[in-house]
């Protein structure tokens, strides 16, 4: 009986392969976008964890100095009973890029910090004696084939771009003999007094990278979820339709003795089967999506946060499981209403299909109420809450509220159109359109979400781009940027440049904690370059004079916002003393707090600051020649002398890649929405025949009817696009004013780009037109017999 019942239920799908295809496609697309984003996130997080757990830094306390620490200090601490292990970290230039080189002492390394299995076959001796052995990940190794480095060994526990060597070899490779960066402290080791200059730093629970990139991943997750929600609209309508069409079958089965529980169970089994099939397909597609997007994500993370993420994807079992889980959960959510109806199906109602998914006035009113509540909640969150979650909460409320409000708004609009209509056809057109709304509203909601997301994100990205390029022009005012290899070389270069450049401005920086957070501290020379160009958001009137005399400092917007700093507030400096804030400058693309002092003040505070980087002012038309001359004179590698244009191009490239993923997801979401629309229209076209046939019989040609149907779809798309505009702008505002501030620490001005809207509107109409084309064409080509069947006696 169960088998018979199930086969009766399943036979429906074989007779309507299109419906089955829609259901499977919708569900697998939704699953694909969701699990694709999850795969990217998982890959990135895994690589942060790996980076963070390099040498157990996520769980071990460390001893640090103001700058580099002498190796003798380490030995002295060991001999005083500290259980610690020395580490030397630095960047090692390799052709085309650089490596994060980590030197360790394998003998004293705490077990939690052990990353690599040493000594297989060749033992410890080659590791600690020249030329040493260098451990890198397989991916990194592949890129280092001809780099003239020590022999490479692959250790996949290392993050990409990181190389592990013995500390002695690190000192040799980095040319820093007798120096270490910090010391790892064994857990549970007795803590003793530290000599001056050294401080004990407790482990940071979450890695810096994980925290910095949280916002980025939350962003991706939000988009993935949006795409998933849009996909579920397809699933919901496909399931709803299939259930409505089988209502007579359900009744017959019930009448033949199948219990309500059994019937619901069978339908549930059927749905789970479909969900699993679609889920597997979706996860496989998600893998494809992730693999396609990951290189851009990796480039973004590396450019924006310096986080190294491999460009290739690992298959994680957990990810498969969650992908399938989300497919099943999505199916159940989409089917809940239909299953509930089957459960409560009255046995004796006439076996005639009823307009499916017709929302009663009461349901619509209820939905509108919820929508208004959500919108109010979003407003409240923006007014009261701060931070990323409040921002995303507001976004969710805004989008969902607007989507839920859409059917009522459209219905009202159509009623208004009907009342205003003069001709009988126009009147019928409006009334008929209104009649279609319940069946179309889900896909229209999906379209609204996709369009609004496009408008919102597009506005944010374009505003950001406009601001960012202007800011780059201000910030990169010098013609050339020089990085000397040694201080001696720098000194020679300064002499060489004396007669050749208009000005040479030092760019020295140190790292220290400011107000308890790690910060970069820069020195700034007093020069017109800065006085004229530096992008100050707030400034005291005499800011540059006070800076020149070392009486004040500048902070970046991120630090100012995080710490609530305003002009005149004092900022304590490492090593004592405090200076008032004389200006706040914008600092896009940098997640870290930054402080600028006069160069003298910086060097007084951090005497060990390497004096290697300089900005060179020269007449712009002479810059290229000077650079050429200088490279030749000092045998300087290209990357050590960059011109303004190159840096700008690089920065913009990072910027574009940052939003490439967002743009790709945007397009995919719009595609899914178009598909949802197509599915709905196909469904409706089959069901609308009884409504169209009388009108046809009363004297309208099929071509006219088809034209009206196309017009109806385009009209709805246009109305939805209009509705998406304010929603999208609201979205953009929340992104710029709330989410960006919380995620990155900067607030951007909002610019609107009506040209983009026109383009998007055209795209929406095109999508709607394409979605409508098949059903409309089908209508136009309908044979009279198909229409006449409506009038046949036996239905």
């Amino acid at each position: 009986m169960i088998a018979a019942g199930l086969s009766a239920l399943l036979s429906h799908w074989w007779r309507r392969p299109m419906q089955l295809a829609m259901l499977l496609l919708g569900l697998s697309l939704a699953t694909a976008l969701w699990s694709g984003v999850q795969a990217i996130n998982a890959e990135a997080r895994a690589s942060y964890d790996r980076a963070a757990s390099v040498l157990g830094q996520d769980g071990l306390a460390r001893i640090v100095g103001d700058g580099p620490v002498a190796q003798d200090a380490y030995v002295a601490l060991r001999r005083a009973g500290w259980l610690i292990s020395p580490v030397l970290e630095g960047r090692l230039a390799v052709p085309g890029s650089s490596l994060r080189l980590i030197g360790i002492d394998p003998l004293t390394l705490p077990p939690a910090a052990q990353q690599v299995e040493f000594g297989q076959g060749d033992g410890l001796l080659p590791f600690i004696t020249a030329p040493g052995v260098m451990y890198v990940s397989a991916e990194t190794a592949a890129g280092l084939a001809e780099a003239g480095l020590p022999p490479l060994r692959v250790a996949d526990s290392l993050p990409p771009g990181t190389a592990l060597v013995d500390i002695g070899q690190a000192q040799r490779l980095l040319d820093r003999p007798g120096e270490i960066s910090h010391m790892l402290v064994w857990p549970d080791a007795p803590l003793r007094d530290l000599p001056p200059g050294l401080t004990l730093r407790q482990p940071e629970g979450a890695s810096d990278l994980a925290r910095l990139t949280d916002s980025f991943h939350l962003n991706l997750t939000a988009f993935g979820f949006l795409a998933f929600a849009v996909g579920l609209f397809i699933v919901h309508s496909a399931i709803g339709l299939a259930f409505e069409q089988r209502r007579p079958v359900f009744r017959t089965l019930r009448a033949l003795g199948l219990s309500a529980a059994m019937l619901t169970g069978l339908l549930l089994a059927e749905l789970l089967l479909l969900a699993l099939v679609a889920g597997v397909a979706g996860v496989a597609m998600g893998y494809g999506v992730a693999a396609a997007l990951l290189p851009d994500v990796a480039a973004t993370l590396s450019g924006l946060y310096g986080a190294e993420v491999p460009g290739t994807l690992a298959l994680r079992p957990g990810w498969w499981a969650t992908g399938l889980g989300i497919a099943v959960a999505g199916t159940l959510v989409s089917a809940a209403q239909s299953l509930w109806r089957v459960w409560h199906l009255p046995l004796l109602a006439p076996a005639q299909p009823r307009a499916w998914a017709r929302a009663s006035e009461r349901a619509l009113r209820w939905q509108t109420g919820v929508a208004l509540g959500l919108l109010a909640g979003a407003g409240g969150l923006i007014g009261a809450g701060q931070g990323l979650w409040a921002g995303f909460g507001a976004l969710a409320g805004l989008l969902l509220g607007a989507a839920l409000l859409l059917p009522a708004a459209l219905s009202g609009l159509m009623a208004l159109g009907q009342r205003m209509a003069r001709g009988v056809l126009a009147q019928w057109f409006w009334a008929d359109t209104r009649q279609q709304l319940p069946g179309l509203s889900l896909s229209l909601m999906a379209l609204l979400l996709a369009l609004a997301a496009n408008v919102g994100v597009g506005t944010m990205v374009s505003s950001f781009r406009l601001t960012f390029t202007g800011w780059l022009d201000q910030r990169l005012a010098s013609e050339l940027y020089l990085t000397a290899r040694t201080e001696d070389e720098a000194a020679q270069m300064l002499v060489w440049l004396e007669t050749r450049a208009d000005a040479v401005l030092p760019i020295f920086n140190a790292e220290a904690d400011i107000r308890g957070q790690p910060a970069e501290i820069y020195g700034m020379a007093d020069h017109a370059t800065y006085r004229d160009n530096w992008p100050l958001l707030q400034a005291a009137p005499d800011v540059w004079d006070r800076m020149a005399s070392g009486q004040a400092l500048l902070v970046n917007e991120q630090l100012a916002r995080r710490e609530g700093l305003g002009l005149g507030d004092a900022v304590a400096l490492p090593g004592g003393g405090a200076l008032p804030v004389a200006g706040v400058y914008s600092d896009y693309g940098n997640p870290v707090a930054q402080v600028i002092l006069s160069t003298d003040r910086l060097l007084a505070l951090f005497p060990a600051t390497p004096r290697l980087r300089y900005a060179i002012r020269v007449a712009p038309d002479r810059a290229a020649a000077l650079a050429e001359e200088m490279r030749a004179a000092f045998d300087l590698p290209p990357e050590n002398l960059a011109d303004q244009a190159a840096i700008k191009a690089f920065s913009l490239q990072i910027f574009e890649r940052t939003f490439a993923v967002t743009a790709a997801l945007n397009v995919l979401t719009l595609g899914v929405a178009g598909l949802a629309m197509f599915a709905s229209l196909m469904t409706l076209s089959a069901m609308r025949l009884p409504q169209l046939a009388p009108v046809w019989a009363m004297g309208l040609t099929k071509a006219r009817l088809a034209g009206l149907d196309l017009l109806r779809t385009l009209l709805l798309a246009a109305v939805v696009m209009l509705a998406a505009l304010p929603l999208g702008l609201a979205l953009a505002w929340v992104l710029l004013a709330v989410v960006n501030v919380a995620a990155f620490g900067w607030r951007l001005p909002m610019y609107v780009f009506p040209g983009d809207w026109l383009r998007l509107g055209g795209l929406a109409l095109l999508a709607a037109g394409v979605a409508a084309a098949v059903p409309v064409r089908r209508l136009a080509l309908l044979s009279p017999g198909d229409l006449l069947r409506v009038f046949a006696h036996e239905r």
Binding site: R434, G699, L700, G785
Partner: protein, 219 residues
């Protein structure tokens, strides 16, 4: 002569090859007269009605309706014919669910461009629909719906009314009442009436009868 059919043939494609439904039908109907088409299921009576209505095209033969050969008319011409010359009453009523009763009643008249408010009001009164004008089709009983459908057809003042089992979905008492209304109002407008029915009792109430059997006029 309002309607003249000469040698009308029609077949439909089926999986076993074309199925001939009508084998050369000849028939005439005068304005102001009513004719009942009777016959078994599958005898071709509905098909004949649909051909006369211009809903479908003939394979061979001629249909002259109001001096126009609709067998040769194109899609647009036949649509114009349906709009202006004929009126259809279906067994399933086939009202437009998105429009209220008043709009349904006026629909075809306005489509045909001959909306007449006075005539509408008279029809509504005659059909007993005055109290139902603001309702929607789904809120009406079957008899009420068919009265709206009859009103919709007559409001456009067609020259020929085509009815396909108009009482087939109604109980006998309601059916008789609806039938009486239909006959009275058709007579009042002076239009011709061609009605398909399988009921000899109903057929007897019309001026003439034509019995179809296996696609041929029998007797």
């Amino acid at each position: 002569m309002l309607l003249t059919l000469t040698g009308v043939e029609k077949s439909y494609p089926t999986s076993e090859g074309p199925l001939k439904v009508l084998h050369g039908i000849d028939m005439v109907l005068d304005a102001g007269r009513s004719l009942a088409l009777t016959g078994e299921s599958g005898s071709g009576k509905s098909t004949l009605l649909h051909l006369v209505a211009g809903l479908d095209s003939v394979d061979a033969g001629q249909i002259l309706l109001a001096e126009q050969d609709i067998a040769q008319a194109g899609d647009a011409a036949r649509a114009a014919l349906r709009r202006g010359t004929v009126g259809l009453v279906f067994q399933q009523f086939n009202l437009i669910p998105s429009l209220d009763v008043a709009a349904n009643l006026a629909f075809q008249a306005r489509l045909a461009g001959r909306f007449d408010a006075a005539w509408m009001a008279e029809l509504a009164g005659a059909l007993g629909l005055e109290g139902l004008l603001a309702r929607y089709p789904e809120q009406l009983s079957g008899g009420q719906q068919q009265r709206v459908a009859i009103g919709r057809t007559l409001a456009a003042k067609p020259r020929l009314v085509l009815a396909d089992e108009p009482t087939g979905n109604l109980d006998e008492a309601t059916g008789d009442a609806v039938m009486a209304l239909l006959l009275r109002l058709v007579a009042q407008t002076g239009a011709g009436l061609l009605m398909v029915t399988h009921s000899a009792r109903l057929a007897a109430r019309l001026d003439a009868r034509l019995h179809l059997s296996h696609g041929r006029v029998a007797g």
